[in-house]
Structures are given as structure tokens and as C-alpha cells.
């Protein structure tokens, strides 16, 4: 299979780009696979990639209801970071960030991993204290963290509102290794890599039911017929609730809509990702020049992939409050993605009580950055039937046990995470 390279781009350019082959096959499903992954979004595709590449499991199908990459990997704000605080989370996200750092060379696709830093601003002493606690947790877990005071931020980001802000900027927490990635390219890179390893990616194939007998899941019903599998791996964040309902399971998850926004293209404006948590606003600038920004979820259960005006306004208010220079930039497009909002804001990578049925979901609005580690750890679980060491806490039964991974301290109300 052909590798991409600058030389190849040059040679193809000379010959009218006639030699490029499809990035992936369009196979028909076989009757049986060792592992069937339901969901051809970022996490499903990365699971397939690592299963086939790292764990040697190649008889794998990825079933995708629509087009590959049409999950939340296709509609997010592209941020990568590992600035978490709790032991159940931070090592996992740091593992993910490390995978991002070598990803493009690994799967031979330029996903434009750009470690241009992420900054979380703080505005009060209690907020600062919480950020220091978090920064120290990050460093103790082997990640990078840096506290910046107001003077440093004034030098680095003179366009922030330092002098007239309702909530004065007191400083910020940097993670310099954080940044952004070209989100669609992640899906395509994983898909191409998995396809090259023999994984069947089957698009326009919706799972309509599970074959479960005596507590064992042996396959799925799909719009392209029944397919049997040794292990069925659900990976459909956003739709987890109604897919798992087909297996008779209720989940500690609600589906919510998160809107995201992009402005018209602009010449370089922002250096990295800037997060104004107190004002529900975060922003970065894409390589194409658009300001990519967002804020809170709309707050009500929804599968509609679109939101409403109050949150649009709330996000813009946050933006204007923190950087009033963006007032004349225009919002070009807004969209909504469906989030698996879990009961403590943290995800699940686990077996279910049904043998052979596995579940990956509950990523809230943080699934994109987790894509490599989620796939890697899910592949680990599927291949070895035990959790990867950095994902041992991401269990479905943790609420019954009372083990909460609640970074924000908001409790069992999903729309507050």
C-alpha cells in the first residue's frame, strides 16, 4: 500500500494526480468477525487501528451508520490537552497526548497536530487555588503545566481585556503541549491505517439490534444483514443511550447538544487555545484562519444536532467579555454535536454485564482529545479482556460502588459537567 510523502505529492502533481488510490476500500460485510466495532467515528476507527496494529487483531469490522468520521470527530472544536486533575483521568489523558505527539508519523497522515498551547484563565483566588491544585496534579502525573501571572499574560496576549473586565484576569494555567488537530484528518488517518491493516470499514450500515442469548452477545443485526462476532464493541458516543437500549441497558448517561462555532477566515489572530471558563467561552484559530469557539452545552436532553439562541449569545458574550477585539469578526457557521453526558463528567471503557458486549462512551464534550487513548485502551480491553492501566477507573459500575471521577464537583447532574 502506498505511503504518503512530499515526494509522492510532487510526482503525482507532475502526472496530473492520476495515481492516487482510494484512502480506504468499500467492502461488503463478511458474515463473521473476531471483533465488530459499532461506530465509525474517531474512537471506533482508532480502536480498529490499534487493535489491528498493536494487538494483532485484524479480523475486525467497523460498522458505521453514515459516512466514516460522521460522529463527533466530524463536528468538534479540535482541542487536545491533558490538563485534568483526578487520578482516574489525568494519566489517561496524558497517555492520549503522548499518542497525539507521534500520531502522524505513526499512521502516515498529516492531521496537523499543532501543540500551540492551551491556556485556562482564572479570575479569583479560589479559582487560582483550584488551578494550582490541578497544575500540581498534572506535573505529578508526568504532564506539563505552567502558571502564568497577569503580567506575563499582558505581555503574551495584549488583546485580552485586562483593564475593563467585569471579572479581572488574575492569571492562567498553561499547558504548552496542548493545542489543536485537524479533526477530520484524524478520522481519515485512522481509517486509512486500519483499512491497510485489513479492517473492514463498512459505511452506511446501521446496527438495528443485538443478538443476545443467555446473557451472551454473539452478533448484531444491521441494515446490511446479520453479522456475527466474538466481541461486539459499542463506540457510539452521543447515541450510546439509544443504541445500548437495544441491548436492554440503561446507562448513567444523558445525550445533550453542544454547539460549536467558526468565524470567517482571518489572518493569524490567536496563538493557541484560550479558555475563559468563568464566561463559558473557549477559542482557537484553525490553520485555515477561522476562529473556532464554543462554550456550554445547551443543557437539555437532545439528539437533534442543533441548538438554540441563548447559548449562542452566551458564548458570544463570553468572547466579547474576554477579547473585545473579536467584535467585528463574523460568525460563519454554528452547529451542534450530541454529547454523551455522563453522571460525573468522566467516560467509560468497560465490559458490560452481557458477555461479549463492550462499551465505550460517556465522553461528555471531551472525547476528541481522548481519541487515541480511547481507541488504544478499548483495543487493549477487547484484546486482553482487562483494562489498560491508565483506564482502570473508567468502569460502568463505579457509581454503584461510590467511586466518582468528578473533575468539576457537580454531582450526578449531567448537564452541569
Amino acid at each position: 500500500m502506498s505511503r504518503y510523502s512530499g515526494i509522492k505529492v510532487f510526482l503525482e502533481g507532475l502526472t496530473g494526480n492520476k495515481g492516487w488510490k482510494p484512502a480506504w476500500r468499500e467492502p461488503e460485510p463478511k458474515s463473521h468477525y473476531d471483533v465488530i466495532i459499532i461506530g465509525g467515528g474517531g474512537h471506533g476507527l482508532s480502536t480498529a487501528y490499534y487493535l489491528s496494529k498493536v494487538f494483532g487483531v485484524r479480523n475486525v469490522a467497523v460498522l458505521e451508520k453514515g459516512w466514516l468520521g460522521s460522529g463527533n470527530i466530524g463536528r468538534n472544536t479540535t482541542i487536545i490537552r491533558s490538563n485534568y486533575m483526578l487520578p482516574g483521568n489525568e494519566p489517561f489523558y496524558e497517555f492520549s497526548l503522548k499518542l497525539w505527539e507521534g500520531l502522524e508519523q505513526d499512521f502516515n497522515y498529516n492531521a496537523m497536530v499543532s501543540q500551540r498551547s492551551i491556556l485556562n484563565l482564572f479570575h479569583s483566588d479560589p479559582q487560582r487555588d483550584a488551578f494550582v491544585r490541578r497544575a500540581n496534579a498534572m506535573i505529578l502525573a508526568g504532564a506539563d503545566a505552567e502558571l502564568a501571572d497577569e503580567a506575563q499574560l499582558r505581555r503574551e496576549l495584549p488583546f485580552l481585556d485586562f483593564d475593563n473586565a467585569r471579572f479581572p484576569i488574575k492569571g492562567g494555567l498553561y499547558q504548552r503541549r496542548g493545542g489543536t488537530v485537524r479533526h477530520d484528518a484524524v478520522a481519515w488517518g485512522y481509517a486509512r491505517g486500519a483499512d491497510q491493516n485489513g479492517v473492514d470499514i463498512i459505511q452506511n450500515c446501521e446496527v438495528t439490534g443485538f443478538q443476545i442469548e443467555n446473557g451472551v452477545c454473539t452478533g448484531v443485526e444491521t441494515t446490511k444483514g446479520a453479522i456475527s462476532g466474538n466481541k461486539i464493541a459499542v463506540c457510539v458516543a452521543g447515541s450510546s443511550g439509544h443504541v445500548m437500549a437495544k441491548a436492554g441497558m440503561r446507562l448513567p448517561i444523558e445525550s445533550h447538544v453542544l454547539q460549536a462555532f467558526v468565524s470567517e477566515g482571518l489572518k493569524p489572530t490567536l496563538p493557541g487555545v484560550i479558555t475563559f471558563g468563568a464566561g463559558h467561552f473557549y477559542v482557537s484559530q484553525s490553520d485555515k484562519g477561522g476562529l473556532v469557539f464554543g462554550g456550554d452545552i445547551d443543557g437539555y436532553n437532545s439528539y437533534a444536532q442543533r441548538g438554540n439562541l441563548p447559548v449562542v449569545e452566551d458564548v458570544a458574550e463570553g468572547g466579547m467579555a474576554i477579547m473585545p477585539m473579536i467584535g467585528r469578526a463574523r460568525l460563519l457557521r454554528s452547529w451542534g454535536g450530541i454529547m454523551d453526558m455522563s453522571m460525573d463528567g468522566s467516560p467509560f471503557i468497560d465490559k458490560t454485564h452481557i458477555e461479549g458486549l463492550y462499551f465505550n462512551g460517556g465522553w461528555c464534550y471531551g472525547g476528541f482529545k481522548a481519541t487515541p487513548a480511547s481507541g488504544y485502551c478499548y483495543a487493549h480491553l477487547l484484546a486482553k479482556d482487562e483494562p489498560h492501566p491508565v483506564a482502570t477507573e473508567m468502569r460502568l459500575d463505579r457509581f454503584k460502588r461510590g467511586h466518582l471521577i468528578d473533575e468539576k464537583g457537580q454531582g450526578n447532574q449531567p448537564n452541569l459537567h
Binding site: 487560582r128 503545566a145 458574550e317 466579547m320 473585545p324 460568525l331
Partner: protein, 984 residues
């Protein structure tokens, strides 16, 4: 060049009496009132106005509306600079200043245009395949290069100097678009008495009537529109909103609309530049018209190649000849109209090329008409010079009008994810089955592309809507007009092998790129869009999407409807972020809440701090104090030595009444309240239902059925909400009623050994403050200062003998003064939130940093407050095994081993001798203070097994700040641990 050399001598809807000056790229030009920047530039022969996104090709004005892909300029200068403004919709004003964008060097000699030569290597998605080696080069070399060449216009990086506003409007019927259909519907609904809003993005209502030569009811179209507008303007029940773009359709009939108030003026003069309206409609009618689509052919991107309808707009509405030798390229009848309109205005038409082998629908004199041919190439780098036809002929022309058919503007029908449907007869998508609730579509937007049919469709739709709303339709005259010749053919692009034919002009996506995407497996329409960037530019593919789909369909052998369509998302046209934010910026981002003694504090040297929306006195600096620590230390010391006063009004106060009020409190607090005597106050702890500690405060029993609860400042609103949930949804039969009185009472902590003596001077006789009559935790209603009602609580946050006294808040500012006056003999001082915090840390009380939503009652050392005898919210789930592990964290005190060391909040604890990593993390420091009472830094923190580690020395590590110290685990009660003082 002579002034306005391309301005026609007659006609147009411009005001020739009002000549306007403007500058483009530094050169001065003239135009007229009624011009857009684009029409004025064309009037002055400026056709080449911009550079494309990727290849930096010279580009000209392509359209006459919001669909413009090419003519994007930076409007205005300095902090007012506004990137990516479409010249085609920018209204000309005197003194307008604009410049072209996206070039290095001048517009004419753009250094970046070398990318055009490298085009063979820059095909769709090329960047995904390269720039990966060496790894470090992406961020250091490639990406900065790409970022600099990408993007379009530039922000000034200065704060937006304009203001914005928002508003709310309500109507029975919102009509979106004031073209012929919109006006006909508005007349019908308006005359029938409905509350109507009709909005149009243009500054003149009438839509295409202003750009065409149609007649209605025997009148010229634009005059009919003028009359209609005048009639509507006279109706009280109709609101006409020009310069207003309805940009988004949201749930349940709510629309977002942007009204441009001062964009057509040189200055906004302090008034809002734009207003963002939320329009609440019972019904809506989309009459947004249609957008013309081009045909892709080799080198179709040159300045001078324009949409045919746009050419008619310039000639008819603006009296501008977009060229001196105009040619027309069409696949339908409508294109021919361009030639006849041009001729009518005396503009030379050199040729009409129709791809069809069909007779001419109109007869033209002196024009070469070519049937069954198409264009295979063009020439003229900075302006069209000639076109080459498939029959081998080359025609000299400086403007080519391209007519590819019309696409209904279905955008708003898709904002709620409705899918448009394909109509083969007009070869276009029309609104699909699932429209936003309450919406109907009429006129060209619904696919009714001819005038008479559109007018009747709209009037009929309005009648249907009125009937739906139960309103009587007042019949009036019908709308008479011609149905113009109309046809459509599926000629989307000229098939080409060598040369590039542009589909998306702005993003430089060519027919080849679409084919290459397909070749590489990007075959779903969403993949095509994302891989090739088709339709992702500032025009969101308004002129390019359908051609792109058609070419994709050709590649796959499917039909266009089988191929699908990408999703239109809000906004219809881009909306400034400033407008979406409205007034909420700077100090107006959120309201301020001020404490009742704010004025007093201001006058007495307070420094204020934002706590939520409240502004509170943080400390009161005195002359000679060098920093905040001096002030805070003094405030603590003087309070503990004598008496201090602090405004604590921000605590949430909830009046709770009812026969079952005590039982209700028993449900929501962990500890028992049934037997709290009248006249007593009790500390209460609340859990969330998941068992985590949530809030605490004191609740006083003023009467058998009357309690007053206090909450923390931060949780006041949230606790109220939860209590209402418990009252209405969990225990609906309890007789209990809640009302917030937070703002009603000015409440002051009066703390310190002399607090009683001070208050004695204020309370009215015969109130007895002695410990016997009014012991610790007592409460009472009384009067002060000769009859002012007040409430008094003997509670202490500082650990001192202390009270909280409350008076109605209009007396609050005066009360602060009175308390200070009465305290003068004791040296009373006001203290702020910092001293309050220091004293509570000295006393070991948990506050926000400890009640952070992650800790249990046991973690906080408050396990004893969870009654074993009764249920309460959160109790059952708090008993889950892993919320009560053996090595659970516990709130304890920390004292630095070296008392010179400062403890820092956010530090983590590591057992001595262990390595500093996450596995060995023992907990964290939640709050610290310098204790003036003890003379060293103290801290509160959570550490595993804290209660059984008293006296242990642990490492307090803070790698983020580069500070590691050692501290001893001690009781959290640093000050007066037995509590004798507060009971004294």
C-alpha cells in the same frame, strides 16, 4: 479614467443628486447614494478587486448580493476595520474606506500569486499527505507558513469601538424577504390585521423587482414595491425591517435577525451599530427568493465573469455597465433576458452563447447568438479579454454574464435539519417535507420561480396562515403580472481535461479537485466538502454547492438527490460576534450586586473583590499600610482584640414558613431540625442526593412555623432551586413556603470581645444581650436605633463572641455607619472578606474551597452532623462503600515546620520519604492564610487518614510554583479549639 466611466446616463434606483466620495486601496472614487461598494467600483471601471484564497488568482465582482465569493474587502480602517466584507452588500456612504485583502504586496502584484504556478502540487487535500517530516518542522516551519497565507482579512487586534444592542419582537407572522412574494404576503396579512414583521437584508425593499424590468399590476416592478412598502408602513400592525437579515431559524418559531443600524453611515455616533433581534413568531413565511448559480468552465474565475442576474442588477438598479462588450453564457431562457436588458440600457452585447440547441426565446438585434456551444477557455489575467468557444471561435469581451439557473434559498428551512428535496423540473433543491414548526415557504424560495405564480403563491400562503391563526382574511385586489419565460437544463460544467474550471471560487475548488476527492474515496458529500473544502468559505457555497454535487453525482453515476446535500446551518449570512454579544462586554458583561454598605465602604477606603456577581469589600486599607497583608492582619488582630464589623449580606437568606417547615428542614438537612426551639439557631449541613456535601449555613427558628435559613453566598440561588424541587416534587403535600429575602436584609457580623458592648448601644431597650438571656446560637426579632426593625443572631464564623445583626436593607448603609460610630470607643474596625477568610481558617471552618462538590461530610470532619435517626437528601448514596474507604481523605490543619515558610493552596501532600508522583499523592491543601494570631502561615487541607496522622510531618509539594516545604498535620481548629470565646 473619467469619473464613473461605466455609469449609464439614465435609469437606476440611485440618487444622482447625492454624490459620494470613497476610497479603494487608497485611490479616491465617486459614487451615488443608493450604490453598493460593488456597484460604485464597477461604475468606476474597477472590476478586479480581490485575490482568491489558495491560488491568489485575481478576482472580480461576481454577484450583486450576499452570495458573493470574490469581492471581499476590508471596510473602514483602524479599530473599525472590518475584514471579509462583501462589497456587493456594503452600502456606499460618503468617506467610505476600503481595501482589498489576502495579498502580499499590492493587489495588482501579489507575491503570493506564485502559488498559482504550484497548483498541480496543491490539489485537494495535498497537505494531509506531506509536511510530516521532519516532525518538528510542522509547528516551526510549515504551519506558520500555511497560517500566514491562509485566512482572508485581518482583525485590527483592537477592541471593537462600536456598541451593539439586542431586542425581542413578537408577531403573528414573520415574513422573511421583501421581494415580490414577501410584499404580496405582507399586504395580504397586514390588510387582514395580523401582527406582521417583514424583514429584508437589503436597504431597499423589493428584492429582484429592483433589479429586473418586470411589471406588476401595470406598474414598473420597483414602483409597485415602493407603493407596497408605503402602504405597509402606514399600518400599525406591520413592522418593516430593512437592512435586517433573518439569519437563523430556531425552535418553536424563534428567529435570530440582525439589523444593521449604522453600517451605512460614516460614524455610529455612539448609537448601537447593529441590533440582534430575537423574533418570536406564531407563523413564518420564507420568501427569501433564489440565488443564481454559475456554470463551471475553464478559467471561469477571471474578473469580468459574473452571474447574469447580477449583470441585470448592475444595469437596471445601479445604472452601471459592468462591461463595454458584454457576452452571455447560458443554459436557460433567463440568461437571454440579460442581453435584452443590457440592450435596452444601451450596453453593447457581443454574443449570447446558449448550450442548448434551441431557438432564441427573445430576439436581439446585432448580437451574435450561438446555440449548442460552450466556453472552453478565457483570456485576460486581471480582467476578461476574450472567451474561446467549443466551436473554435474566440470572442473579444470584457464581461461575461453566466446564467446557470436558479437555486431556491432554502437555507432557513434546513436550520432544524430538514432536508431539501430535489425537483427535476427546475433542477434544484426546494424546501423538504420537515420544515421548522410554523414555517411555510412561498415564491422563488419554494421553487415557484416565475413572478405571477410567485405572487399568487405568496398571497395564498398568507391566507392559509391567517386561517390557521383563526384570523379573517380581508380579500383585496389580486396581483397581476407576467410569468416570464423559464426553463432549466442540467448543464453544470464544461468537461475539461487540462485547464482548471472553478466550482468554489473563494476556496479555489475546481472540478478536478472534486474528481480527485472522489478518486481518493471521499465519496459522501460530507467527505467531499471536508476533503476539498468545497462550500466552506465565507459564502458557505451559495453559488457552488449544487455544481459540486452534480459533478460528484457524475463521478458516482448516481443522481443528484441520491448524492444528497450538505447541511445548511445558521447563520444564513455571517453575523458579527459583537452583535451576538450585544451589550454584554466589559463591565456590562454581568450585573453587579452591591452590598447595602457599599457606599460606606467606598467612602472608607475599601478595596473591592468580585465574588460571583457581588462586589464585596476585601479589606479597608489605612494610611501607612504597605500592602494588603498589613490591612488584613490588622483587621484580624483588632477584631480579635476588640470588635470588627463585616457586611455579610451576601449570604443567601430564605424565609421558610408553614406548618411543616421543620419537617421540611429535616428532609433537606443532614441534622435534625424538628426540635429546634423558637429563638434558636442551628448549624445545618446539606448534601446533594449523590451524598456529596453541598452547602452549609445556619437556620434560625423565629416562630413555630417560621424559619430563616442562610446559605453560602455562592450557592444561594442553587439551594433555593433545590429546596423548591424538594418542596414541589418530592414532598408536595408538606405545608411549607419559601421566599428569598437575601436582598431584603442588610446583615452585619459584629465580632470580637467587645461586640456585645457595642450592640448594647444600638439595640432598643429592654432587649437583654447578656449570655443568660441571649446565649450562643440564640436569635431574636427586635428593634434598634429607636424603632427600626431588626433581627439578631448570636452566631460566630470568626470564633469570637459574635453576632449577626440584620436591618431592612434600605437602612443598611446607615446601619454600618451607626455600628462604627457606636464602636468608636472600642476601636471598632470594619473588616473585609480577606480577614473573614483568615479568621475562618484559623477557626477551621470549611468554606468554598473545601465544599467544592467533591468532598463528603466525613471528609470535612462533619460526619457527626449526619443524623443516624432520620433520612435526608443524600444520605443513602453517601453510604456507598467507595465513598467511605478506609484511607479516606480528611480535612485537617497544617502548620509549616519552619514557621517562616508560607503554605500555598493547591499544593499536594506526599508522605516523607516517598517519591513525588501521582501514585503517592496523599491529598491537597485547600485553603491557606497567614495567621496573625499565631504568627505563621496555616493551612487547611485534605489528606488520607488525616484524623489519625496528627503530628506527622509531610511534604507539601507545589512543583507548579517550584515550592516544596514540610508541614505538620495538626487539628484544623487553630484558634480557640475549645470554643470558649464564642460561647462567652
Amino acid at each position: 479614467m473619467t469619473e464613473q466611466s461605466n455609469r449609464l446616463a439614465h435609469g437606476g434606483l440611485i440618487n444622482r443628486d447625492k454624490r459620494l466620495s470613497f476610497k479603494f486601496n487608497g485611490t479616491g472614487f465617486k459614487g451615488y447614494e443608493g450604490d453598493t461598494l460593488a456597484s460604485a467600483l464597477l461604475a468606476n471601471g474597477k472590476g478586479f478587486v480581490g485575490r482568491s484564497f489558495k491560488y491568489h488568482r485575481p478576482r472580480g465582482i461576481f454577484s450583486a448580493g450576499p452570495e458573493e465569493p470574490n469581492a471581499l474587502v476590508q471596510l473602514r480602517s483602524g479599530a473599525h476595520q472590518e475584514p471579509n466584507t462583501r462589497a456587493t452588500v456594503a452600502e456606499l456612504f460618503d468617506g467610505l474606506w476600503a481595501s482589498s485583502q489576502n495579498h502580499i504586496g499590492s493587489l495588482e502584484f501579489d507575491l503570493m500569486s506564485v502559488t498559482d504556478l504550484a497548483a498541480p502540487f496543491l490539489s485537494a487535500g495535498f497537505y494531509y499527505k506531506t509536511f510530516m517530516w521532519p516532525k518538528a518542522f510542522w509547528e516551526k516551519v510549515y504551519e506558520p507558513l500555511i497560517r500566514r497565507s491562509a485566512g482572508l482579512g485581518q482583525l485590527s487586534m483592537k477592541d471593537d469601538p462600536d456598541t451593539y444592542d439586542k431586542g425581542f419582537l413578537h408577531c403573528d407572522l414573520l415574513i422573511i424577504g421583501a421581494g415580490p412574494a414577501g410584499l404580496a404576503a405582507a399586504l395580504t396579512a397586514g390588510r387582514s390585521g395580523a401582527r406582521v414583521i417583514i424583514a429584508d437584508e437589503d436597504f431597499v425593499m423589493g428584492g429582484r423587482l429592483n433589479a429586473e424590468t418586470y411589471g406588476i399590476n401595470g406598474m414598473e416592478g420597483h414602483l409597485w414595491a415602493q407603493n407596497a412598502v408605503a402602504e405597509l408602513a402606514a399600518m400599525d400592525n406591520v413592522r418593516l425591517m430593512s437592512r435586517t437579515t433573518v439569519y437563523g431559524a430556531y425552535d418553536h418559531g424563534v428567529f435570530g435577525a440582525l439589523e444593521r443600524k449604522t453600517d451605512h453611515l460614516a460614524q455610529s455616533n455612539g448609537k448601537p451599530r447593529q441590533i440582534l433581534w430575537r423574533i418570536y413568531s406564531k407563523r413564518s413565511l420564507l420568501t427569501a427568493g433564489a440565488t443564481e448559480r454559475p456554470i463551471a468552465f475553464p478559467n471561469n474565475d477571471r474578473p469580468g465573469v459574473m452571474l447574469a442576474g447580477a449583470v441585470r442588477s448592475y444595469v437596471n438598479r445601479y445604472a452601471v455597465a459592468p462591461g463595454h462588450k458584454v457576452s452571455v453564457f447560458t443554459n436557460n431562457d433567463d440568461g437571454w433576458r440579460t442581453a435584452s436588458d443590457l440592450q435596452k440600457q444601451g450596453v453593447e452585447v457581443v454574443a449570447v452563447i446558449d448550450v442548448r440547441n434551441a431557438p432564441a426565446p427573445v430576439s436581439l438585434n446585432g448580437v451574435e447568438t450561438i446555440h449548442g456551444a460552450h466556453i472552453v477557455d478565457t483570456a485576460g489575467r486581471k480582467g476578461l479579454k476574450s472567451i474561446k468557444l467549443s466551436n473554435g471561435k474566440t470572442i473579444a469581451t470584457d464581461c461575461l454574464a453566466v446564467a446557470g439557473g436558479w437555486n431556491p434559498n432554502v437555507h432557513l428551512t434546513c436550520h432544524q435539519r430538514g432536508k431539501p428535496e430535489w425537483r427535476e423540473d427546475i433542477l434544484a433543491f426546494v424546501p423538504g417535507g420537515t420544515l421548522p414548526a410554523g414555517m411555510q415557504v412561498a415564491g422563488a424560495a419554494s421553487g415557484t420561480l416565475t413572478l405571477k405564480a410567485g405572487l399568487q403563491d405568496a398571497a395564498q400562503s398568507a391566507e392559509t396562515i391567517l386561517n390557521d391563526l383563526g384570523m379573517a382574511v380581508k380579500k383585496s385586489e389580486s396581483f397581476e403580472a407576467e410569468d416570464e419565460a423559464h426553463s432549466a437544463t442540467s448543464f453544470w460544467h464544461v468537461k475539461t481535461t487540462g485547464k482548471r474550471a472553478w466550482v468554489d471560487l473563494q476556496n479555489d475548488v475546481t472540478t478536478k479537485d472534486i474528481k480527485l476527492s472522489y478518486q481518493e474515496g471521499f465519496r459522501s458529500v460530507e467527505h467531499l466538502k471536508r476533503y476539498s473544502t468545497l462550500g466552506m468559505a465565507t459564502d458557505q457555497g451559495k453559488t457552488s454547492n449544487i455544481a459540486g454535487l452534480a459533478i460528484l453525482a457524475e463521478c458516482s453515476g448516481k443522481t443528484i438527490p441520491e448524492t444528497g446535500t450538505t447541511i445548511f446551518r445558521p447563520p444564513y449570512t455571517p453575523v458579527p460576534i459583537g452583535a451576538l454579544a450585544g451589550r454584554a462586554r466589559g463591565k456590562d458583561f454581568r450585573p453587579y450586586r452591591l452590598t447595602p454598605s457599599h457606599k460606606w465602604a467606598e467612602a472608607n477606603g475599601a478595596t473591592f473583590v468580585e465574588t460571583g456577581n457581588w462586589l464585596r469589600a476585601q479589606w479597608f486599607a489605612r494610611k501607612g499600610e504597605k500592602g494588603w497583608r498589613d490591612s488584613v492582619d490588622r483587621e484580624v488582630q483588632m477584631t480579635r482584640a476588640s470588635v470588627g464589623i463585616c457586611d455579610v449580606t451576601t449570604l443567601g437568606k430564605i424565609d421558610i414558613q408553614g406548618k411543616d417547615a421543620a419537617e421540611f428542614l429535616n428532609h433537606v438537612y443532614t441534622n435534625a431540625f424538628l426540635k429546634l426551639p423558637v429563638g434558636k439557631t442551628r448549624y445545618g449541613l446539606m448534601l446533594r442526593e449523590d451524598g456529596i456535601a453541598y452547602d452549609d449555613g445556619t437556620t434560625a427558628r423565629l416562630g413555630e412555623n417560621h424559619f430563616v435559613m442562610t446559605t453560602t453566598t455562592a450557592n444561594a440561588v442553587l439551594v433555593f432551586r433545590r429546596l423548591e424541587f424538594a418542596r414541589q416534587c418530592l414532598w408536595p403535600d408538606l405545608d411549607v413556603h419559601l421566599i428569598s429575602t437575601t436582598d431584603g436584609w442588610a446583615q452585619f457580623a459584629v465580632a470580637g470581645p467587645n461586640s456585645r458592648a457595642l450592640l448594647q448601644k444600638v439595640v432598643d431597650a429592654p432587649f437583654d444581650l447578656s449570655s443568660e438571656a441571649f446565649p450562643f446560637m440564640a436569635c431574636a426579632e427586635l428593634t434598634v436605633c429607636g424603632g427600626t426593625p431588626a433581627r439578631l443572631f448570636r452566631i460566630s464564623f470568626s470564633g469570637e463572641l459574635a453576632y449577626q445583626i440584620a436591618v431592612p436593607s434600605k437602612y443598611g448603609n446607615a446601619m454600618m455607619g451607626v455600628l462604627m460610630q457606636a464602636g468608636e470607643e472600642f476601636g471598632a474596625i470594619p473588616y473585609g472578606t480577606e480577614a473573614l477568610g483568615v479568621m475562618r481558617i484559623e477557626k477551621g471552618h470549611a468554606a468554598g474551597n473545601e465544599l467544592n462538590g467533591q468532598t463528603t461530610a466525613a471528609n470535612l470532619g462533619l460526619g457527626g452532623f449526619v443524623s443516624a435517626k432520620k433520612d435526608c437528601i443524600g444520605k443513602t448514596l453517601s453510604q456507598r462503600p467507595e465513598m467511605n474507604p478506609e484511607d479516606d481523605i480528611r480535612l485537617v490543619g497544617f502548620k509549616p515546620v519552619n514557621t517562616q515558610d508560607a503554605l500555598l493552596a493547591g499544593s499536594h501532600f506526599i508522605t516523607k520519604g516517598e517519591r513525588e508522583n501521582m501514585a503517592n499523592d496523599q491529598g491537597w491543601m485547600s485553603s491557606v492564610a497567614y495567621s496573625p494570631s499565631l504568627g505563621h502561615s496555616i493551612g487547611l487541607g485534605f489528606i488520607k487518614n488525616g484524623q489519625s496522622r496528627m503530628g506527622e510531618i509531610v511534604k507539601v509539594v507545589n512543583p507548579a510554583r517550584g515550592v516544596n516545604v514540610e508541614a505538620e498535620i495538626v487539628s484544623p481548629h487553630f484558634y480557640d479549639p475549645e470554643g470558649g470565646l464564642q460561647r462567652g
